[in-house]
């Protein structure tokens, strides 16, 4: 291997290796290694602030991944039926929304939500008597964050499911209808199983995106703290091995999810390829 390639890899992976290494530090300071210990793991995993932030992040990621997967799959199926300029137009919109920088999405979502809340909250005042004088009030928080993440990850889902859909053999659907299955049963019994690897991969990708996201969460989460936001604020108070522990745990978790996504999205395709390979020889 060329020497500069080694440097590139070292530059990429050495910091990550250091994070993992220092997460086992026995000392009190992040970069002052005092011997191996898992005491910071115990400390981090019992820190209520960390656990709250983690739990909040998991909830947001899970819910927004479910929403974006469901609606994204529906959108992909609908887009497949469009043709001509309409299809090009909506396709372009999807790709644009993926390419827009996160910071723009974050600010835009924040402004949009605040404007909508400002508009709606006076109307909700009317309901005050129904709630013991304390009118419900829309504000930033769990729901707004889930909504923002769902919207953004939905585009990812559409793109992944669309790719799977266009690679799917259309005659399978006709074969199913030829065998007396109604369009609905055909969808459940043939289309959905064919798309499933793509849908699962899209779900996992949405989950990791939401879980890792800092920018949108920072703007839209309101008073709540997601794990990345917590890490950011705790670093300002000085880096303890606790941060390294969180980093390591999140890294391992994300890797597991990403590898499963990768595995799922290639699994189905591999089967299909080998099915059509030996078309002409009998045994």
């Amino acid at each position: 291997m060329k020497i500069y390639a080694i440097f590139v890899y070292a530059f990429l992976y050495l910091p990550i290796a250091l994070v993992i290494f220092f997460s086992f530090n026995a000392g009190n300071y992040a970069l002052d290694f005092q011997g191996f210990s898992t005491r910071w793991y115990a400390k981090a995993l019992t820190n209520p602030f960390i656990m709250d932030a983690l739990w909040f992040s998991v909830k947001v990621a899970a819910l927004s991944a479910v929403m974006s997967t469901v609606f994204g799959t529906m959108a992909a199926l609908a887009l497949q039926r469009l043709s001509g300029w309409k299809r090009t137009f909506y396709d372009a919109l999807i790709y644009v929304s993926i390419m827009v920088p996160g910071i723009v999405i974050a600010i835009a979502t924040l402004i949009a939500l605040v404007t909508v809340f400002k508009f709606l909250n006076p109307f909700l005042e009317v309901l005050a008597p129904l709630f013991d004088g304390q009118a419900p009030k829309l504000s930033l928080g769990f729901v707004s964050l889930v909504a923002a993440h769902s919207l953004f990850t939905m585009s990812l889902v559409v793109v992944i499911v669309r790719a799977r859909l266009s690679g799917m053999d259309r005659t399978l659907i006709e074969a199913s209808e030829d065998l007396y299955a109604s369009p609905f049963r055909t969808f459940v019994q043939v289309t959905l199983p064919q798309l499933m690897p793509g849908i699962l991969a899209a779900f996992l990708l949405s989950f990791t995106f939401s879980f890792d996201d800092f920018i949108i969460s920072f703007f839209v989460a309101g008073p709540n703290t997601t794990l990345p936001v917590y890490i950011f604020s705790s670093i300002r108070r000085g880096i303890t091995p606790e941060v390294n522990v969180i980093g390591t745990v999140v890294l391992v978790g994300s890797l597991i999810l990403l590898f499963s996504a990768q595995f799922l999205s290639t699994m189905g395709k591999g089967k299909k390829r080998s099915a059509s390979k030996d078309d002409s020889d009998d045994s």
Partner: protein, 375 residues
């Protein structure tokens, strides 16, 4: 006018009345009338793009006609979706469900119709059907673990298990290699006799159509140009197009002399006959003479044999193609151009084989000469 394949059939299994289907400017199926009786093996033969698949898909319900009526067992099915039609199709590339194993693929149709069928009964029927297509014990196999020929049989089983009125086959053997194709041709024929339902097959392979079916409909540009037994199509083609598509033919142009004679462009007069049910072209109109290569006798020049025939010419061999059971010669005749001659091994036993550039005499009889109007 309806092409009745067999007279005296009760209600036809399939009937097309003036059916057309366009795709934009393309007329895929053009005003087709056909009546297919129960229990036969019918092939639709034609070159690629002549509308065979569209025709089949209108029976299955994947396409609807623009005009005309499609009837299954006497009832119009125009507008009836595919999943409500009592026909099943074997797709060209099989379209087996890759996420289901062999047994689940085969049982798919039954489970849609009868959702409460017991596991045991389903397993019995799947087992029986697998034996019918000679794949016993393959229930648990995955689709991608099977060869092309085996997948073909699973596709057949998946359709036949439903006991449809009609089985539709779209170029079912096109993806198989030659030897396997031969085996499957025989198997399909046996299977059709065994189950007794109507098989409708479309193919561009004339050998496939001629060898398997009792009736062949030859298609051209969305129309059916001739319907008949394979022998009829071969021996009594109604037009040069049929003579050209079914088997091989030599065509020579000329002017009709009336009374079964044609004056070729070279000036020689050829005698022949019109195919049954076709009129001879009127005197002085353009005519085409058709002679099958296997009806032409070939002999070394000066030897007896070929020159005893009503028509004979002398020329040089320009090409020889050895086909195993037969040998094809291309003979260049000054008066006619290049003529294809087929010589069987049996006749070669007496005539010997011929070499390129050798001078030969070819000849044929009046009976072997068909005369068509040149359109």
């Amino acid at each position: 006018m309806t092409d009745d394949i067999k007279n005296g059939a009760e209600t036809a299994d399939i009937e097309f009345r003036g059916v057309s289907r366009h795709f934009g400017d393309v007329i895929a199926v053009n005003n087709v009338d056909i009546s297919i009786p129960r229990g036969g093996f019918v092939s639709f033969l034609g070159p690629s793009g002549c509308g065979k698949t569209t025709f089949l898909r209108m029976i299955a319900g994947f396409e609807q006609p623009d005009s005309g009526d499609v009837l299954l067992r006497g009832e119009s099915v125009v507008g009836v979706p595919a999943f409500k039609r009592p026909v099943n199709m074997v797709f060209q590339h099989y379209a087996l469900f890759p996420h289901l194993n062999v047994a689940d693929n085969i049982g798919y149709g039954i489970k849609q119709v009868n959702r409460k069928i017991s596991k045991k009964e389903l397993a019995t029927r799947v087992g029986e059907t697998l034996e019918m297509v000679r794949l016993p014990g393959f229930q648990e196999r995955n689709i991608w673990e099977m060869s092309g020929g085996q997948q073909q049989r699973v596709a057949l089983a998946r359709a036949l298990i439903n006991r449809p009125n009609v089985l539709l086959l779209d170029e079912p053997l096109a993806a198989l290699d030659r030897k396997l194709r031969r085996d499957m041709q025989i198997e399909l024929q046996n299977l059709q006799r065994e189950v007794g339902i109507t098989f409708v097959l479309v193919t561009h392979d004339q050998e496939e159509a001629l060898s398997m079916s009792d009736t062949v409909c030859l298609m051209k540009e969305g129309r059916i140009v001739q319907t008949g037994s394979p022998q009829d199509l071969y021996k009594e083609p109604l037009s040069p197009y049929v003579a050209d598509f079914v088997g091989k033919s030599n065509f020579f142009k000329g002017i009709s002399e009336g009374a079964g004679a044609v004056k070729l462009t070279c000036g020689r007069i050829v005698e022949g006959r019109a195919p049954l049910t076709v009129e001879l072209p009127p005197k002085s109109s353009a005519a085409v003479v058709c002679v099958r290569p296997e009806m032409i006798h070939i002999a070394a020049e000066g030897n007896k044999g070929a020159s005893e025939h009503a028509m004979y010419f002398t020329g040089n061999i320009v090409n020889r193609i050895f086909l195993g059971e037969n040998t094809e010669y291309v003979v260049r005749i000054d008066e006619l151009g290049d003529v294809l001659v087929m010589s069987s091994r049996l006749s070669e036993a007496s005539t010997g084989t011929f070499e390129p550039n050798q001078s030969v005499t070819i000849g044929w009889d009046k009976d072997a000469t068909l005369i068509f109007a040149d359109t």
